[in-house]
Amino acid sequence: MRRWLTFAWIAALRFLGEGRMQTGFILGGIAIGVGVIVFMSALLASVQANFTNRVLTSQPQIQLNPPDEVARPLRQLDGVVEAAIVQRPTQRILSLDQWQTILSSMRARSDIVVATPSVSGSALAVRGDASRSIGILGIEPDDYFRIVRLPDYIIAGEPSPGTDDILVGIDLANDLGATVGDKLNVTTGTGGSRILTIRGIFDLGNRGANERNAYVQLRTAQSLLNLIGGVTEIDLTVDDVYAAETIAQDIGAVLPVKAESWIVTNAQFFTAIWAQTLSSLLIRVFVGLSVAFGIAAVLIVSVLQRSKDIGILRAMGSSRGKILRIFLIQGGVLGFLGSLLGSLLGGIALFAWHNLARQANGTELFPLVIEPSLFVFSALLATVTGVVAGMVPALRAARLDPVEAIRG
């Protein structure tokens, strides 16, 4: 007998040890349950982290644009509306009013990490007989690449465009039959036209983006789009990506700009994440419930098997409370040991999966994010589940009438 254990612990551990078969089976059951939970949680966390990372590194978290142009109904002095039907005006490409002031006030904010101006508009890229419509984005590469990690996606050439250079997507390059060093004639709707050299080719992993996106220097875009000295948007990253919407609303309220956060522009992304989280939560809850029922069932049987022992212990002067504790401890110990085995099982499954499920070229699908807190949390949760599941059997044991129990 371990001297440092109390009566309830000694009895609980002995009872578990004696019913080796039962204990083994239920531990197996708990381990599988916890393993599934650990595996699913880690996988989902990894998928979401990877997903979020991709979203966040391929677009600014907040975009400031000029406010929409609105037409006002024409009124006479006495308030009578002269033209009752008001058409929405066409949205010209406009420069942000006072953009240098806005930019410096953005850079002064403590919750904003990077602020950079850019110019965007549409254009036609022509090479030989082929032409494609593209969206050109004029950027200041050093700052912009801190928001969108384009250099990570460059597959040929370099991500440092000069004044007469352009970065294009892999699909556009293929359509135009161009490679790094080839020249494109880029013409915009406002009449600007320039010959630009392909400096780099990127693959953003999205066909639409690879066909349409093209990056040039800010000045190049300004002259192409006839917006000398102007910018059409200011892109921001913030320190807390999930606070982006609050910050955007704050900016929109103070400055004459339209501020949109990635949370609003990627509503579908959040729906997907939410659906994933919810479904996995449901699965985890039900796995947890079945584990709890398993523990309860085994302990109920154990109470029945040990009713004579319980009667004897009561006759010896054990209080109901002590008997209750014996079975609660058994539940907790089963939950805890099961969760240790389960964490091991889940960990092995994760690494096995990570090594087996590979992309066609053998690289990993996405990096695994395994937080130690996941294991601690699972162990804690399983232990609590065990104790709670032990409640019904324990109460039953504590309520046994010793006379009946001893008589059998």
Partner: protein, 240 residues
């Protein structure tokens, strides 16, 4: 000798308040003195076990009062009864009821452990001493399950004495044993009675063993019908 146990008009009914209410014990009055070695006899179903459970504080009488060592137990709540039971009363049952998950020594330690919460050397020494007295100290680390019925019952006697109780209640302790083992267990209890002055109340069907007790009480249909002392044995008891 002080009165250890006083039963005053103990009645016990089952299914109280229903049409099938049955009274098992019809007003038992009994006085036992400290150090007595008493046999309780009677046909099956006469209420012997019920009486023993009431005296052992495992069950409450429907009416009547029970005094143990001068203390009225009728008004005690369950926690107090449990404590009193743990400290004052030892049990030996027909089917020994050792806890199979524990070794012989651990079974003897168990009442002390229940009382004090944590095991210590003193408990183990006490258990070894008792096991020595029942002649089983060699077997102390053997699981209770792996012993013969006679051995298990001797361990049960040692366990009943672990807390140095005032009273040991034995419900047909030899009913399940062969004659030789039965006599051995009986003599063991008798020896503890003589050496330690522990009071014993033993339910038995065995007239041979009953004849070796100080006093024989007979219970028939829930009433005490006989109460005689065995002069010869009494003489032995008095001569110590």
């Amino acid at each position: 000798m002080a009165e250890l146990l006083v039963l005053d008009g103990i009645r016990k009914s089952y299914n109280v308040g229903t049409p099938v209410e049955t009274e098992i014990l019809h007003g038992i009055d009994l006085v036992m003195k400290a150090g007595e070695f008493v046999a309780l006899m009677g046909p099956s179903g006469c209420g012997k076990s019920t009486l023993l459970n009431i005296i052992g504080l495992l069950d409450r009488p429907t009416s009547g009062r029970l005094f143990i060592d001068g203390k009225d137990t009728t008004s005690l709540d369950e926690a107090a009864l449990t404590r009193l039971r743990g400290h004052s009363i030892g049990f030996v049952f027909q089917y020994h009821h050792l806890i199979s998950a524990f070794t012989a020594r651990e079974n003897v330690v168990m009442p002390m452990l229940v009382d004090r919460g944590r095991p210590d050397i003193a408990m183990e020494e006490r258990a070894d001493e008792l096991l020595d007295q029942v002649g089983l100290v060699k077997w102390r680390d053997t699981r209770a399950l792996n012993m013969s019925g006679g051995q298990q019952q001797r361990i049960a006697v040692a366990r009943a004495l672990a807390m140095n109780p005032l009273l040991v209640l034995a419900d047909e302790p030899t009913g399940n044993l062969d004659t030789a083992s039965a006599q051995g267990v009986f003599e063991l209890m008798r020896r503890f009675n003589i050496e330690r002055d522990t009071t014993f109340l033993i339910v038995t069907h065995n007239h041979n063993l009953a004849a070796q007790c100080d006093r024989v009480i007979e219970l028939v249909d829930g009433r005490l019908t006989g109460d005689r002392r065995n002069p010869a044995i009494n003489g032995v008891a008095q001569s110590r």
